[in-house]
Point group: C2
Chain length 452, copies 2
Amino acid sequence: MQSSRQPHILSLMEELGVDKYKQYTDGIKFMQIADKKIKTYSSNIPSMSLFALIDLQLFINRVERMRKVVPLDNPSKAKKALELDSMTVETFKRQHLTSNAAREAINAAVRVMFGMECCEMSVLYFLHYANSAGGLTALIEASEGAGQEFKIKGGAQPLSEKLADKIGRENVWLNEPVVQVNQEDRSKVVITTASGKTVSAKRVIMSVPPNFVVKIDFCPSLPLDKRSLLQRQPMGHLIKFIATYSNKFWRENGQSGEVVCSYGDPVLAHDSGPLCLVYDATSPNGNPALVGFLGKSREWSKRSSEERKKAVLDHLMQFFGEMAGTPIDYVEKDWGEEPYNGGCPVSVMVPGAITYFHESLRKPFDRIHWAGTETASIAVGYLSGAVQSGIRACVEVVSHLQPSLVKDTDRTKITPCGFQHQSAAESNFFKSVVINMLIGLTLAMIVYFIYN
Amino acid sequence: MQSSRQPHILSLMEELGVDKYKQYTDGIKFMQIADKKIKTYSSNIPSMSLFALIDLQLFINRVERMRKVVPLDNPSKAKKALELDSMTVETFKRQHLTSNAAREAINAAVRVMFGMECCEMSVLYFLHYANSAGGLTALIEASEGAGQEFKIKGGAQPLSEKLADKIGRENVWLNEPVVQVNQEDRSKVVITTASGKTVSAKRVIMSVPPNFVVKIDFCPSLPLDKRSLLQRQPMGHLIKFIATYSNKFWRENGQSGEVVCSYGDPVLAHDSGPLCLVYDATSPNGNPALVGFLGKSREWSKRSSEERKKAVLDHLMQFFGEMAGTPIDYVEKDWGEEPYNGGCPVSVMVPGAITYFHESLRKPFDRIHWAGTETASIAVGYLSGAVQSGIRACVEVVSHLQPSLVKDTDRTKITPCGFQHQSAAESNFFKSVVINMLIGLTLAMIVYFIYN
């Protein structure tokens, strides 16, 4: 979360008085790709053959060149957009990478970034995602200025807590999943929750992952374009674990705690160990821990937790020795089983989705505005993107209700398709609506902070 | 609907005493592709330059060779499955077609077959679809033995009516959309409809398009693999029209009524005329009519019906002269706006879906069995596929409840993943369950017959 790359979350954290700390990356790193051999390195340059390194670097350079010219607000306007949106990252990778090791390194990166395989997303989506993060290198590294540089002290939950305090706990409804959004009465939106509670508002900001928007009953139904886009934004899937130990044995052995793995058959996960990425997760007050993600987690999701735990610890021991096998605590989270999340870390867009439906990503549906990290243009998929999208949706709503309050600098935050001119009658209701809107935004953020 | 290609619907029609008649194809056909020039031909060989014809034929030959080796029951077992499932049809088309005219001909074919563009689906899905239809040629032609050879007398509705009569109208609940499917009590399934009615059954056959399965509340929730597949099966979109005339002026002019169009910018439909495909739709008792589909129908869906009608008639006049501009009746159907359909003619699979999730396509979820043309292995996407899938799901259910009733020849209709061994306790309930199951199957068919 470096300021230039993830500015929105950093500024919110500052506002709320939530601290950050640096990701620990000093020492030896492990890599186990392609041929299953464990290799070590301590710089940012992975341990591969010279040929594979050159192959990988040329590929990264190509991606960096290409991603820079993908417009953040509208990737469908990129040069050769149709061609890039017609191709999966797998096809692109096969075209431009020769060595097996470099291909596996990209597989591992994509798996951790999206919780998916390279064949499941459009190249144009991938390039836009990389551009919105400030570059591919920023996405995959934990070094200075990269996406994984900082961690939030106490985890992301305090952010939600402080936001909830700020707007008043009584204004936040938890455990009230929305089942219907009705705007048949053209002057308001009526929201119904599963328990039958209703709330009515002038405008609504929806910040719900695409795979759950489709479950909500909209009256009238969403426009065809929006429905079509939602059918083309599959959610990724990762299983995360945190193993807590009595001491930082890896640091004592000069190891950073970082492991990257990718090998074996891409379909049958049981041919390979479960680990994809591991990092040091020692807390700021010194509790030693390792955090990691299971690669090919859809396959691992079918096993029992015990089986997964055993496989993870066995795999960790290959790198860190016997001590890694006896954590004092071990927790895991299969995001696919979360009832209001269904996956992690983000939904992607399949080929053709940007070309034919991107316009509907942020376009308000009458009084419904769209937020959520999937709708961001900076740091898509990150907490920062969620905050940016919330601010953008907020400016949209205020522009309708009290345009005089919107400064010129705010206006630049609205993408062209996100803004529609207000109807004069609405201005009077400004005060109550801003409150409703803030509740919506906060709820949105809480959902994101809890689940991302 | 030739017997070898669409055997299941033909045999059902025979059983129910529903007649068929031949698609009229005699005479001059029109083609307007690539350069917008209108060309005529009267054989099955489209009017293109020799180079484009050779280019197109080589492509078709390639597809026919490749599709033949895609296993109908499990396309993920095809040779080079991962490579083919990683690529979109657009990438494949660009790799193997050089001429603009041949590319546009494939665009038109894909648009009418799937209601989508080439970049929106996996090559492996496309090859499996073609194989299940008996070949690409069978899919795109209306000649003898091809998919469009026959039409149903009186339309598809009589089939649903006769099926409903057969099982008793009182057993068919119409206007009762399912909102919940609960199998928390492990001995039965409880279905709740939107009006609050419930029905309980030993086993359930679901025959609902993927874009509507996701709206149903399953308790417990569907397995991750099934949910993941459903997120990767977007629905196509077409707008259909039927223009009825006082006389068959096209036949009188030696024209067959057939038009194929594809030109202009693939994203911006308003650069081109609306028509994609037109056929003679004169009824068996002689009412003259033309039926057609609008290409790039998502764009046309945003216009008013009047605007669409005017554009369609203007475009028809380019081929058939002024008389085409004054039909005595004109009806259109935008399938995207149908509340329990949301598109047409079929949902496809995006890249990676077959590789990672095909196993869950027909795999029963405890007591829930999956039917619907998307789950067929012969004539996927057609009425015949819907019937085949219904028979397969039926055999699955009977295999659980009264295995002795299932003949060896029936067993071959069950795909390996569709069959699980029965628990002994269930056999006693056989009679009532078969009735429930028949209701389910019939409802499924009715839904399909109405909406396809």
